[in-house]
Subunit: 137 residues, 2 copies
């Protein structure tokens, strides 16, 4: 079979799966904020990070950081002191992703009004289903 440089459909599928997974990752509520904070604030500790992000539970922050670490986007440094001191910082990879996400971020900022307006228009058409604006009788 002409197996040239043609990638197997499986490889393509796995790539797409990973693409989806990463987009899912950056779309995650906390992941984004963590990347943002570490990107602008540089290396920082767990508690500091939790404080700056605000609203994130210890569980979710830990989970988020673990995933980022696993994907090579964040470096976790444990200082063998007491009390424990753990610092997190973005890797080059993490910074690059942050910049890529920036494009979407920018798009949203630029088209905020369009989206909000579209929603208002849409909602107008669908209020009828609910308890309507009482303009009927």
């Amino acid at each position: 079979m002409g197996a040239r440089q043609t990638k197997s459909p499986e490889a393509v599928a796995r790539k797409e799966a990973l693409v989806r997974e990463m987009l899912d990752r950056v779309g995650d509520k906390w992941t984004l904020l963590v990347i943002e904070e570490l990107g602008s604030g540089g290396e920082m500790r767990f508690t500091r990070l939790r404080d700056r992000i605000g609203g994130v539970s210890q569980k979710m922050l830990t989970k988020t950081l673990r995933e980022l670490e696993r994907d090579g986007l964040v470096i976790r440094t444990v200082h063998p002191v007491v009390p424990p001191r753990v610092e997190y910082r973005l890797t080059k990879l993490g910074e690059a992703l942050g910049e890529a996400v920036c494009g979407v971020w920018t798009w949203v900022e630029n088209h905020l009004q369009d989206v909000e307006q579209a929603r208002q228009v849409y909602d107008r058409k669908h209020v009828r289903e609910m308890g309507g604006p009482a303009g009927e009788g």
Copy 2:
């Protein structure tokens, strides 16, 4: 932009919330695929879309399309015929978002290996938790 600081902190907060929401949206498993399909395949019907995406339930496809429609990213056209014929296509806004997301998509494709390798390295260190080898310094 010569705009002074006319924006209230509340407006900024709401903007950030919407940014997060949109990133969450594009990170959604099906949303991405729908945008991709409509972007490359142009206007198409519900069933066709479901068939091309594959693996999506009717419930989720409907929900995804509704959200995209509400945000003004997709146009839904109902043809009053029998059997029903409903077609979906991207708006200009939707196409623009698709392009913005493309940046992240590209990043992932370019750094696929880095992420996969990082994961392998990370996993090596954590296999110990499972039935890992007992040998450890």
